[in-house]
Symmetry: C2
């Protein structure tokens, strides 16, 4: 599945790229490039896609919806539900045109009444979709935008002024938002011609010199800074509203509790490297960079570093927390009720102390006061933490009389975001703004992680073989199964596998025309049945105890048209070309993207998403810093041990969709030559599920491409058949027979 | 032949790219990226090549030496000669270790004595290889660095302080420079570990606060600004020494006269678009950008815009000149003795006035004084012109009292390079700094230019067929021919073709191990004979009245080794893959580079130069803005009508070299689909010369690759055989027979 949320910066200095206007046809991409490196990278997935993202709607998923259209499972976690069910269960019923007269007004009225509070005093408030950690999947209690607006789609930003209320979302959600928003809300269709960004809109609707409020926990420092710049052209001031989230105030007691799911130790046999070693690694980076401490705020980074897992959000085995690592100590900021004795012992062994989740702000203030130099990844660490650190540094320096600033400077100036980076120049105190030291380390898998990924992929392949065997039989028997029922059955097959935990994202189960919607997600009310007249695209994945999977197959249970076969074969040729690539070390992923596309280009076809994203080992299904995309903003080199998806596709509007996705491990290849005295890298497949032969027009394939298919299927048979029996084993046998070889 | 000099900026805002340290292994590349977009692009050709270019040695040719190792042909032009002959004829005899005691000292002493002149007063002087127009090939009178140092290689920068004298050059010239430099010169081996850049060295050897002089005509404004910044860290001041070039003062009467070669009208049947139309185009851009005038200083841009050609320098049909285009007038700054009645009439018809070459400075001062807003491409327009314009603007504004600056401000401050760009903010007056409006227009060829290119390529192909037929016969008869003799004979065959003017660059004629030296240029004293035991690489080109050619073929007159065949076939596969590429409009060339490399990468091989450069139509053999390179700094999209070379290679040190080069025209391809509603582009071959079959291991080729070779050879036969007769026609027949086709 193509990665769709933001890609984080890989290497300091590596991603600042000004793109030419001709290469940035969408305002979203242009804005993103201007905003921050990581956003520029994310925007690359959107080229030629008609989105016009508002400033704050930047983390729009480009292939798969986020998890917000889901409901509480009782423990604060969200489970897959239809949006109507969701609204019912969640008290989001203010939404919907019919209900607008009653509830919608109330929430807006309540929110606006808070604007006038003495310590708030704002003219507008921005409510993004984010949590405090830039997470792809978020807990229900953080779905403030959905609560406030009634719009339950995954991507959107709400902006409320004293008079206006507007919601930005992208093309996937226009219809849904129209249904769900009350008449008091203006729907801003991002990507449509002439639709302003949130900041453009604010500059337009507010009189000059207004105060625009945000919850600083919900914006990365970089994003807040960019917002501040954008609205400063109308002399608006960005106000970091501290101490309370205004939507939470409105939500009141009805707001779901923060998730309390227990954490667990991620066994060393899967993690491969123990926590003390990982902490040592981070500390060596601290020393190299002259830093005393680092704040880790990305949830998967905390989980990876501490060999812990949780289940606070759907699809990702993470838990809400922050981590600070100092030269001799480390502190985990987490709700202690999530930490069992086992976990506590595990942490104590590694010298990791516990503090409450909320104590992170006072901790950075403490670090500032003791004069520590802090490593902050300002593309991920939120503005609340960074500005708290800066304010404390200022206070500390003022107290010491070291800074040239006046003691009597206004408190407000400590929120001055434009002084960012000044600390670096000022020397010993303050912060170093640099990508987290964990980002790259996490992406390069160790032996144990690789083994876990391989093992879990084989079990996943067995589940998929059983599933496809079952589905083929059902469709042949003309049993009417909906896209949702099919996805649920797949879940059942996966649940039978050892170590299965949950799906790694919401299954994209798209039959026929639905398959052409790259971001399609079936709902029980509206989905199609899977038949034998068209293509069926299934993109799914799982979290296992030892690994994370992500696979797409496209099949036809009847007779595919020559057009479908031609398109499928072209996609397959791209998949094969990337799979077989060999490249020198230090090659960024985007260099290889053309290999996956050129077979489609030859007949004037293309696809509007990237070709590959990073995948975590028993962690997030989407992780950075590497990617394989047609945009050139992500200069991270592919490295031995990284995992990427290989998922070219083709989508014919109102007709069908095709995607073929395997996960690949980057490995060193041993060749007869080694020009330049460097390593040459290639890929090893992790995914072993048949590619449907009746969709392949083998007359289009070269002998070596035919060999690739036959070799792959032989490997699939050898690796997966021992895990199968009966009909599914027969199915695997039938579906791994060699193609007719047309070479001489 | 791979482009080796700087690539100019393509699109404003398009090329500023910060590269990650891991992607910039050479200090040269890193420095270049830091310096300017165009340099960043140029540096990309140098990846993994061990060069450590000093700040001012930036335009190091990466594939073919420049023309400086040549001598006057009497008219101020240079013709190919060995460096020893050259020294004899040119009075460069101070060079060479044996001669150092006498002459070398004298020149340095004379130069240093000028440092103390009242209106000079400098502590160091930098002498680059450039002329005032960023030309690839320069006239003899501008070869100041060669005169001063005795080092006649094409690339190098000399820096002289009151005590020290150092010369920077790259690996191609270490041996030559050691021989040619006197003992007073320190050879700085760029690319060797620990060798500083010129500015680092100046910062090291000079006490703080010195004055470093340059001739501002020999530095682009951007380069001068960067130099100024680099030396400011030691508080050195960059002094633009006006009114005289200090080396010219030392050279005195012995200095060759500036070239006086007559110019000619480039016939409209070759130029395609008349001068008034081209001027209108430029003027529409002026209006769009709110400018009143533009200064064109690149010689090929002047020649293209005015449909004129000249022969002031070898290999390029250009003439020393500047051009200013205003909304209602245009002025050519050129030595009037070069302008015949015909040419004058041609210019008058287009409303172009003449002024002396030297009057360009007073002209920009005049424009400044009348308050004109000037379009300046500061990556190509020299610092003398830009700073003269700025000084005049300042004087004008001071006089008018419009600027907030004090009237009594020091004259020196008008040279303040750091104020660059301020004019843009200040509004109506001053300049817009933007890539020349001619750059892109010139690169997109019109119908007439394309026809001229096609026709000249066929005549060139006929000459090459005659040549290869002759050479094969001679080698088979065991006639001993040197690489230089072979190149001379090739020239003879070309000279017989209609419309031949001259070679478009110095022929690279490399047998055996010499072929592995990418920048090889044979000299009569030292070159090898061409035999039948190894590969022979021949990269050559010609200027014709109607077009410019550039072609490389590699042959073996005996029995190539399996290794040679394997490598040749891999290079050919890359050549074919690029030739056959189809890609969406707006695709930058670098996206396609991997197609030419991936067949080599598969066996751990690579080549250390770009894959393609732009080519002028009856103009410079190397032109921008497009390129096809493995570095990602040049984001210029390939456009219909552009011409690029396709020249992958492989070089095995001390063994052999392989390169296969055709020129390609970018064209629109008509496909059954047009995903995204955009155009898809592909290539049409311009070059029609056989590729030697006995070097192809056809077992490595796919059926479609074999078809490509056979189709190509069939086209070669059909297009070129009508121009041949006798033995060369027979040779062409034999060398265009189909490969054994191993498809079914």
């Amino acid at each position: 599945m193509p990665r769709h949320h933001k890609i984080r910066r890989a290497v300091e200095h590596s991603s600042l790229i000004s793109l030419p206007s001709h290469a940035l046809p969408t305002p979203m991409a242009m804005e993103a490039a201007r905003l921050s490196p990581s956003l520029a990278a994310a925007a690359f997935f959107a080229r030629r896609r008609p989105t016009n993202s508002p400033l704050l709607c930047r983390r729009i998923p480009l292939l798969r919806p986020l998890a917000s259209a889901s409901a509480s499972g009782g423990d604060g976690r969200a489970v897959a539900l239809s949006s109507s069910e969701l609204r019912k269960r969640r008290g989001l019923s203010s939404s919907g045109a019919a209900e607008s007269a009653s509830g919608g007004d109330e929430k807006l009225r309540a929110l606006r009444s808070l604007f006038a509070l003495p310590d708030v005093s704002i003219d507008a408030y921005i409510v993004p979709s984010q949590d405090a950690h830039q997470s792809e999947f978020i807990a229900e209690c953080f779905m403030r935008r959905a609560f406030l607006t009634g719009f339950t789609g995954s991507a959107g930003t709400a902006v409320v002024t004293k008079i206006n209320a507007a919601l930005w979302t992208d093309g996937r959600y226009f219809l849904q938002a129209e249904k769900e928003l009350s008449h008091e809300w203006t729907l801003m269709r991002s990507g449509n011609h002439g639709v302003p960004t949130t900041s453009e809109w604010l500059n337009d609707v507010l009189p000059s010199g207004c105060r625009v409020g945000i919850d600083p926990f919900l914006f990365s420092f970089d994003a807040a800074e960019e917002l501040k710049d954008a609205i400063s052209s109308k002399n608006h001031e960005l106000v970091l509203v501290r101490g309370m989230n205004l939507v939470d105030e409105v939500w009141g007691n009805a707001r779901p509790k923060p998730p309390k799911a227990p954490t667990r130790v991620h066994d060393i046999k899967y993690a491969g490297i123990d926590v003390p070693s990982k902490l040592s690694f981070v500390r060596s980076h601290l020393t190299e960079n002259g830093c005393d401490a680092v704040v880790i705020s990305m949830l998967d980074e905390v989980a990876w570093l501490l060999n812990m897992r949780g289940s606070d959000v759907p699809h990702s085995p993470v838990f809400y927390s922050y981590l600070t690592v100092e030269v001799s100590t480390a502190t985990l900021f987490v709700d202690s009720s999530k930490v069992s004795e086992d976990v506590l012992e595990h942490l104590q062994k590694a010298g990791v102390k516990l503090k409450p989740y909320e104590a992170i702000v006072s901790e950075v203030e403490r670090l500032a006061e003791k004069g520590a130099k802090l490593w902050l990844d300002s593309s991920s660490v939120n503005a609340a933490i960074v500005s708290a650190f800066r304010s404390s540094c200022d206070r500390y320096m003022n107290k010491k009389g070291k800074a040239g600033r006046k003691i009597e400077r206004k408190e407000a100036s400590s929120d001055d975001l434009t002084t960012r980076g000044a600390g670096v120049q000022n020397g010993a105190l303050h912060a170093v703004y640099k990508v987290s030291p964990v980002t790259l380390a996490k992406s390069v898998k160790n032996e144990a992680e690789i083994e876990g990924m391989k093992n879990s992929h084989l079990r996943d392949a067995a589940a998929l073989a059983e599933f496809w065997c079952w589905l083929e039989e059902e469709v042949c028997k003309s049993v009417l199964l909906t896209e949702v029922q099919v996805a649920e059955k797949l879940l059942e097959f996966r649940q039978k596998q050892d170590g299965f935990i949950e799906t790694s994202f919401d299954t994209i189960s798209g039959y026929g025309t639905n398959g052409a919607i790259i971001h399609y997600r079936p709902t029980p009310e509206s989905c199609s049945s899977v038949g034998s007249d068209n293509l069926f695209l299934l993109d799914s994945g799982a979290q296992y105890i030892d690994g994370t999977t992500d696979i797409t197959r496209t099949v036809h249970f009847g007779e595919p048209s020559p057009r479908q076969k031609e398109c499928f074969t072209r996609v397959l040729q791209g998949h094969i070309a990337l799979d077989q690539a060999v490249f020198p070390e230090r090659t960024p992923g985007f260099v290889l993207d053309v290999l996956a596309r050129s077979s489609l280009w030859k007949i004037g076809l293309d696809y509007r998403h990237g070709t590959g994203h990073g995948v975590g080992a028993a962690l997030n299904v989407h992780e950075g810093p590497q990617s394989i995309s047609y945009r050139y903003g992500n200069l991270t080199a592919l490295q031995k041990g990284m995992i990427v998806s290989n998922e070219p596709g083709y989508y014919e509007d109102n007709s069908f969709g095709i995607r073929i996705e395997n996960l690949l491990l980057v490995k060193e290849v041993n060749l007869a030559n080694s020009f330049g005295g460097i390593s040459y890298l290639g890929f090893e497949k992790l995914t072993f599920v048949p590619i449907q032969s009746n969709l392949i027009d083998s007359s289009l394939l070269s002998p070596s491409e035919i060999n690739w298919v036959n070799d792959y299927h032989q490997q699939v048979w050898e690796k997966v058949s021992p895990l199968l029996s009966g009909r599914s084993r027969d199915w695997l046998w039938k579906n791994t027979r060699p193609l007719f070889d047309n070479s001489p």
